[in-house]
């Protein structure tokens, strides 16, 4: 992958630009966001504007997506590497476990993990994880199976190539082949998979937060809509829902554009 495709750059710019702007405006200059908001004040918190809450919550959603996407990609990579290195029955069982995890719906399992994690934190356990860390860990524990399956298949394809056979014939161990020959070839694919996990993590987080199960502070976009959904329904909240929807869509679009462009470029290259 000598050149990053233009579509991927557009996606990166969209993600980075929105995230940086939201963090800057939400954390450093909230008064600017409050004074120049054309959408008016929030329905359930009249002292805050819609822009402060929606745009200011965007970076939380993005940060959770990035952290959870990164952690689940890392977990998936580790599982795939262990499976390929061990081979045989262990590989089959690990992949079967991954398939079983993959069949379960993200949102449902994240809800159960949030319940378990919050009870643990409330009881004084939880290894110092706050709501943010708890959500990231829950999403990662749910999201590792897809990447693990993709990495295992990719590794299997790469291992069939001639340079790997030559290296093995020269006496290289499996670990050496993985580290020296396969890893550099796998890296662009890892990036594409990470970016493909990003929208899924953002959407799962926003749905679980919308249900009121996560306790993120400052609020993510999903939690913001979830904390006031009764008011949104009965007092008409189109001016709140549509901007929040547009922001979520732009985030997901940015991640999808870059992951699709990188994925296509990896397949061609």
């Amino acid at each position: 992958m000598s050149r990053i495709p233009t579509r991927a750059w557009v996606g990166f710019l969209l993600l980075g630009g929105l995230g940086a702007l939201s963090l800057l405006m939400g954390r450093l200059f909230p008064e600017v966001l409050a004074s120049s908001c054309p959408l008016g004040s929030d329905l359930t918190r009249p002292d805050r504007t819609v822009c402060e809450l929606a745009f200011g919550g965007l970076w939380i959603s993005l940060a959770i997506g990035l952290a959870a996407g990164g952690l689940s990609t890392g977990l998936g990579l580790a599982v795939a590497a262990v499976a390929r290195l061990s081979g045989g029955v262990l590989e089959r069982w690990v992949m079967r476990l991954a398939d079983a995890f993959f069949a379960l719906p993200d949102v449902l399992v994240v809800m159960v993990l949030q319940l378990a994690g919050q009870s643990l934190v409330d009881a004084g356990g939880g290894a110092g994880l706050g709501p943010f860390g708890l959500m990231v860990v829950s999403l990662a524990l749910v999201g590792w199976a897809g990447p693990a399956r993709m990495f295992r298949n990719r590794l299997s394809t790469l291992e069939g190539q001639e340079f790997v056979a030559a290296s093995r014939a020269l006496g290289a161990t499996r670990f050496h082949v993985l580290r020296v020959h396969l890893w550099p070839a796998l890296l662009p694919f890892v990036l594409a998979v990470f970016l493909s996990r990003l929208p899924a993590a953002i959407l799962a987080e926003s749905t679980v937060s919308f249900f009121g199960i996560a306790r993120m502070e400052p609020m993510s976009l999903g939690r913001y809509l979830g904390t006031s959904y009764a008011a949104l329904i009965y007092e008409g909240g189109t001016r709140i829902v549509i901007p929040a929807w547009a922001l979520l869509m732009l985030l997901v679009l940015g991640a999808s554009l870059s992951s699709q462009a990188l994925g296509t470029s990896v397949r061609k290259g």
Binding site: A103, P105, V107, S119, G125, T207, V241, S256
Partner: protein, 294 residues
């Protein structure tokens, strides 16, 4: 046949695994009762959960199911559920899900035909933009936008709206897969041969192309059923439908741990049943699947 049995048994294995995993996770929750400032549940509630989960009893993990089959209430009296109520709520959600599945197939077919017809025209950009919009839209957003109009009207309108908003993303996702399969099939020689013999394009599509394309849908039905059922949770919550999704969310929010165990296992069982139904339909409609297993 042996391959089919292996696949079926692998799918069925998921149910006891989910049942045991969710039971032991819930049974090990450190729900604090003593300290007023950190109390999560009252001591009475904690005692009722211990009874529901049969903690400390031999074969205690069967206790929630025993209670359900005996018609006893699981959880607290106000927020718990009996076996009959659970079935009723599940049937409501499955009903909404079946309508959503039908709608999703309609979206899928319409989107695939639209994309293949306009793939080189001015409207081609819509074929790329629509999946991006659908994928970036969590189910609760359209539900929130439609809720003020439908929530208080009743007459099954909230149920239909729930099916509608839940079906959009899975429909477009299926449509994208179908459009790709359609494009590949339309480029094959037999399509040109059929057209050159004078068959109308619609007839070629209906008689020759679609039977080859539709099995591609079956591969995606499993993941789609998962997203339909998970999406219905959000729609039911926003539209106030008292079905399985609402029960599940409330059980998690109110720490009704025994209800969570049972509902999670029931959910996994529904997914397994969908998987088995897909395998059966595949055997019935796809001769290649029958030949592969012969």
């Amino acid at each position: 046949m042996q391959q089919l049995l292996v696949r079926v048994s692998r799918q069925l294995m998921l149910v006891p695994i989910v049942a045991l995993a969710s039971y032991f996770l819930m049974a090990s929750l450190p729900l604090t009762t003593e300290d007023d400032s950190k109390r999560q549940v009252s001591p009475e509630l904690a005692a009722s959960y211990r009874r529901d989960l049969g903690i400390g009893e031999p074969l205690g993990f069967l206790r929630p199911w025993q209670k359900l089959f005996r018609g006893e209430r699981l959880g607290t009296s106000a927020q718990g559920v009996t076996g009959d109520e659970l079935l009723l709520k599940l049937s409501g959600s499955v009903g909404v899900g079946v309508v959503a599945l039908g709608l999703a197939l309609v979206w899928a077919l319409s989107f695939a035909l639209f994309k293949s017809r306009w793939r080189r025209g001015r409207l081609a950009v819509l074929g790329d933009a629509l999946p991006a919009v659908a994928f970036g839209t969590p189910v609760f957003i359209p539900a929130l936008l439609l809720a003020p109009t439908v929530v208080e009207r009743g007459y099954l309108l909230p149920e239909l709206t729930s099916a509608l908003v839940t079906s959009v993303w899975p429909g477009i996702f299926l449509g994208t897969l179908l459009a790709d399969a359609l494009e590949t099939e339309l480029a094959r020689d037999y399509v040109r041969t059929a057209a050159s013999k004078g068959l109308a394009p619609g007839v070629v599509l209906r008689r020759h192309v679609l039977p080859n394309v539709l099995p591609a849908l079956l591969d995606a039905i499993g993941p789609m059923a998962t997203s339909l059922l998970a999406g219905s949770f959000a729609a039911e919550r926003v539209l106030g439908l008292p079905y399985f999704g609402q029960l599940y969310v409330l059980a998690v929010l109110q720490k009704q741990v025994a209800v969570v165990v049972v509902a999670t296992t029931v959910f996994a069982s529904v997914l397994v049943l969908v998987g088995l139904a897909v395998e059966t339909v595949r055997l019935l409609v796809d001769p290649r699947a029958r030949e592969a297993r012969a």
